[in-house]
């Protein structure tokens, strides 16, 4: 009978090395594991922080995949398994509430919180809060701008209606006329829709982010989106466009207007210097004349894992990575706009970001995407229902969305 029990140790022997591999920790200087997406010059910042830490901790940069979805899935899987080898996490602004709701990240309190709140722009700071508490430190922010061809457009439009009218005129004159932006079934479409809703004074969710609202402003936004998509004024591949292909299309010359993040500016300068000379920028167009647009903010926040073995050091490391000096460095070298208000007056930033006044103006009354732990569900449901935008039927789509978003908020429904 004893022989039967031989199999148990055998099976255990097979499984143990897999488990043990995760837990090792080298002695000496505590290692702070940073999980962050690809940012070319972030390692320079990390080296600097490690030098400043003078042996208190050493940050190790674990590069996450480029695609946002993959970054999230990778972190989520480890956090769900309570992996203690993650310390500082780079979170897209829309994941912060989700991670906080799941109790995967620590609240920022006391001196640390005060340091984060001091001098940080209100919009980005709002994305780092959940239920009134601070759960992350905004590292960089982002807003889309209207880019236009100065050789074709004299006065940049301030509303969508005006922009479409100008494009129609250009088309009639046989000139490049297209309004190029992202319309594929993904987060980018949700950002576009959110821009329209908030600019129209509408709401996707109520103010507490607990109930689906889709008021008249949202219906208005659906109308504009549908009209735009079926006007023939945008790219033929609108429903398949994401950020970079959209930029490439504008750069190739068929567009008069382009709605995209600031990364396009240096990219076009490098790839098409002739065209770049004629590229101007302005605030993102609004819905109603006289009411400026309100534009969705993107960007990244730094959070400390709830399972970290060195939380105090992790908070210090996160603070170092996003301090004024390092945000300035990243803004200039990696094209990620800073979250510290004062930096927008810095002459070096002004040189790297000639459009900084428009960025700052948009940031001052920015729109945030729904700040709910269920954001991922809401976003998935939204992009599936809005795609393709030309087949939106405003009233009906709003009614359908009200039901499916409510289900998504309560994690009741099935995600597409």
């Amino acid at each position: 009978m004893t022989r039967r029990w031989l199999s148990l140790p055998l099976a255990t022997a097979l499984l143990v090395p897999l488990v043990a591999a995760c837990g090792s920790d080298s002695g000496g200087v505590p290692v702070i594991n940073l999980y962050y997406s690809t940012e070319q010059n972030l390692s320079t910042v990390i080296e600097d922080c490690n030098r400043q830490a003078a042996g208190r901790y050493r940050i190790v940069y674990n590069v996450l995949p480029r695609a946002a979805d993959e970054q999230r899935v990778q972190m989520v899987r480890r956090l769900a398994a309570e992996d203690s080898s993650m310390d500082v996490l780079g979170l897209d602004v829309t994941w912060t509430q989700e991670f906080a709701g799941a109790k995967w990240i620590r609240e920022w309190t006391g001196e640390n919180a005060a340091q984060v709140e001091n001098g940080t722009l209100a919009g980005p700071l709002e994305t780092a809060r959940y239920e009134g508490k601070l759960y992350a430190a905004p590292k960089n922010t982002n807003v889309q701008l209207l880019w236009y061809r100065r050789d074709l457009v004299q006065q940049p439009p301030t509303t969508w209606a005006e922009m479409m009218e100008q494009a129609r005129q250009l088309r009639a004159q046989g000139k490049p006329f297209r309004i190029i932006t992202m319309g594929a079934q993904y987060e980018g479409l949700v950002v576009l829709f959110n821009n329209l809703v908030v600019s129209a004074g509408g709401h996707i969710l109520n103010d507490d982010w607990t109930r689906a609202e889709l008021d008249s402003g949202a219906v208005r936004a659906l109308q504009v989106l549908q009209e735009f998509a079926s006007s023939g004024l945008t790219s033929p591949s609108f429903t398949n466009l994401i950020e970079d292909p959209a930029r490439l299309e504008f750069q190739a010359g068929s567009g008069a207007f382009h709605l995209n993040w600031p990364f396009v500016y240096p990219a076009i300068q490098q790839a098409a210097p002739d065209l770049a000379r004629n590229v101007g920028w302005a605030r993102y167009p609004g819905i109603d004349p006289g009411r400026p647009s309100r534009v969705t903010i993107g960007g990244y926040n730094l959070a400390v894992s709830a399972f970290s073995k060195h939380p105090d050091l992790a908070f210090d490391a996160a603070l170092c990575l996003r301090n004024e000096e390092h945000q300035k460095f990243s803004a200039i070298n990696d094209g990620v706009p800073p979250t510290i208000a004062r930096l927008y007056d810095d002459p070096e930033i002004a040189e790297a970001y000639p459009m900084k006044d428009d960025i700052l103006a948009e940031l001052q009354d920015a729109a945030v995407r729904p700040l709910t732990p269920a954001y991922q569900n809401v976003s998935t449901v939204l992009s599936a229902s809005l795609s393709p935008p030309q087949s939106i039927r405003p009233e009906q789509t709003a009614n359908e969305l009200r039901k499916s978003i409510q289900d998504a908020l309560e994690s009741k429904g099935v995600l597409p």
Binding site: R4, V73, V76, G101, A102, Q376
Partner: protein, 321 residues
Amino acid sequence: MTHRVETAERPKARVPRPRRGERTERARLSEGKRAERRLGWLLCAPAALVMVAVTGYPIVYSIWLSLQRFDLKFPDEREFVGLDNYVTVLSNGYWWTAFAVTFLITVITVAIELVLGMALALVMHRTIVGRGLIRTSVLIPYGIVTVVAAFSWRYAWTPGTGYLTKLTGAEAPLTERISSLAIIILAEVWKTTPFMALLLLAGLALVPADLLKAAAMDGAGAWQRFTKVMLPVMKPAILVALLFRTLDAFRIFDNIYILTQGANNTSSVSMLTYNNLFRGLNLGIGSTMSVLVFITVAILAFIFIKLFGTAAPGSTEEGRR
């Protein structure tokens, strides 16, 4: 399998007080035979234990999860909800769309693979010159990692850079439903036909050459020899190949994940499960879906084994070894 487990277990338990009736025959097994059975059971115990640990436990656990409202985003709201999740999933449009898509892909790919696989098997069986070379080259698609192959299909069908879009003049075929499904099916068929061919080749080897010669002597043509002699003899092998491929095809994931990410209603049930489980972090709904996929696969296996009489080749009749 279960059959043998019983006969091996019972005598052991009954040794102290044998009973009358139909069981006496088993009790009469000689001491040696019983020892042999026990040894056999002991020998497969480690494997059985590992199997229970790595498959049994997750299955039971996911059934348990599927009966709960359990969303990682809302850890405090975990509760037992009975069959609510099943009602939610089974009354949902996305689920049935994905189910129909999966079913369609399964039926079409397996049908095409059977025909092509049979042709390839015949070629491999008949070749005399360069046999090794032909067999190896046929197997290459099966040796390539599915994800890698799916990426090359995706790039080939990307407008602007892809050679297949240029060749066919198609405009962004991966952005429309019908063309996306066709490409997914093409990728699946390309990938797994060699596997089908390999299984069928094993079946072809079972057909005695004498039988074919005798049929030829009796005046049977090539087609008649194929349909009247080869196919009936190969039936067990064909059924096994179909069973394997059907179960496999029903769980299609990687090709869709890379090619369309499920856009334009091209999600399969596995893709939908992944989206709810890993992207949505909804363990309740996600587990419900995986249990439903498991049940569907089990039903398919049952149909094949009980109704069509599929069995491992060479063990069709009971008792034969």
